[in-house]
Amino acid sequence: MKPAPFAYHRADNLAHAATLLAEHGDDAKLLAGGQSLIAAMNFRLARPRVLIDISNVVERNRVTEEAAGVRISAPTVQRHAERHSAVRSRLPVLAHAIEHIAHFQIRNKGTVGGSIANADPASELPAMSLLLDAELEVTSAGGSERIAAEDLFITYMTTALQPDQVLASILFRAPPAGHGWGFHEIARRAGDFAMAGAAAVLARDANGACNYARVVLFGLAPTPVRAKAAEASLSGHALSADALATAAGLVGEVVDPETDVHVTEAYRRQVAPVLALRALTDAARGAGALS
């Protein structure tokens, strides 16, 4: 239960981290909050030869409001983001979702970017990046690029990020004004990893027709997934209880769960539409429907 030896480098800023990554190549891993990495290292499931510590870079804990939404620097601790007024006012679903990550002691150290780059399919922030159409700013020694969250997740714990790339910031786009949101997950105990979860955002036009819909499932496939068929079924329609139930019934198309020590595949298939309907119902109420 102790980590294997490694060489330690401390980055002053993210550009410095990118330079160090270019220098050390595949041997190196970035250490942000370390709440997944250090646990894996203690078990020796991970044995990086080089750690590049970005937990104290100058960019940490930068949350800025932009016209499109809220930009959060990757090395921002989750607890900082969860409490930030811009997040709470413009992205209430994000603040609510972060509160479900483990316990406050973990969120005091775990980072927003670290959780997304770690790409655990059951974790909340990767799902939020899909739900909120996030755009990721990625930097390397060669320059910067932007990646849509939709193009980021490949499979379990695997993203499109290249070994020399550092996630710099995440722009979470704010849904339309007047939107409603819902977030539901099932875990055996408060703070445990979700066995299954769903989140939704809905908005209506002046006539009450749905003009914005996002439905995301997590813990139910090798990556978090958007249920686009469910979204499309709501578009242009009144958000009635029947319409929501129909939409929730369509999430099965993107669900591809596994059996693990916690629950079976069949259980996950069964709860997916239930959680989706709960999330959609909360979202519809928040958007002023179903009253």
């Binding site: 239960m1 980590p3 370390g34 709440q35 203690n42 078990f43 510590d53």
Partner: protein
């Protein structure tokens, strides 16, 4: 690979300079390098919470923190609660309400609750239970621990 690293950490108001192996966990640094054995080590993967300490005032898992990451920072351990040997109001409430039970998980619970009560001086029992969810007690039963925290909150408000 085995290059030593020099760090300076403020622990309980005292500055310590040490040369460490980079893979040293903060929990082991506190216990082995500084002899502060009040910080207990249970699961060593962030689940049980017995190693919880305050880093710049915020509770974190010492077993999921490398000592190297804390260079130049301020840490408080359970030893900080009673610097002159007199129990703090929080510790005293645990004593009076049988909140220690076997005592193994207690240091982590005290450090978590120290921060929790500073932010939330008027907690409900439900809030206390939620706040305790990141600290496992294997004696079974959180009832006396919740009583202790509620009593501590009342004593600290007085």
């Amino acid at each position: 690979m085995n290059e030593k690293l020099s760090i300076a950490i403020d622990v309980n108001g005292k500055r310590y300079e040490r040369s460490i192996d980079p893979r040293t966990l903060l929990s082991d640094f506190l216990r082995h390098d500084l002899g502060l054995t009040g910080t207990h080590v249970g699961c060593e993967h962030g689940i049980c919470g017995s190693c919880t300490v305050l880093l710049e005032g915020d509770p974190v898992r010492a077993c999921l923190t490398f000592a190297a990451q804390v260079d130049g920072k301020r840490v408080e351990t359970v030893e900080s609660l009673a610097p002159d040997g007199k129990l703090s109001p929080l510790q005293n409430a645990f004593w009076e309400n049988q909140g220690l039970q076997c005592g193994f998980c207690t240091p982590g619970i005290l450090m978590s609750m120290q921060a929790f009560l500073a932010e939330n001086p008027h907690p409900t029992r439900a809030e206390v239970r939620e706040a305790l969810s990141g600290n496992l007690c294997r004696c079974t039963g959180y009832h006396d621990i919740v009583d202790s925290v509620m009593a501590a909150a009342a004593a600290m408000r007085a």
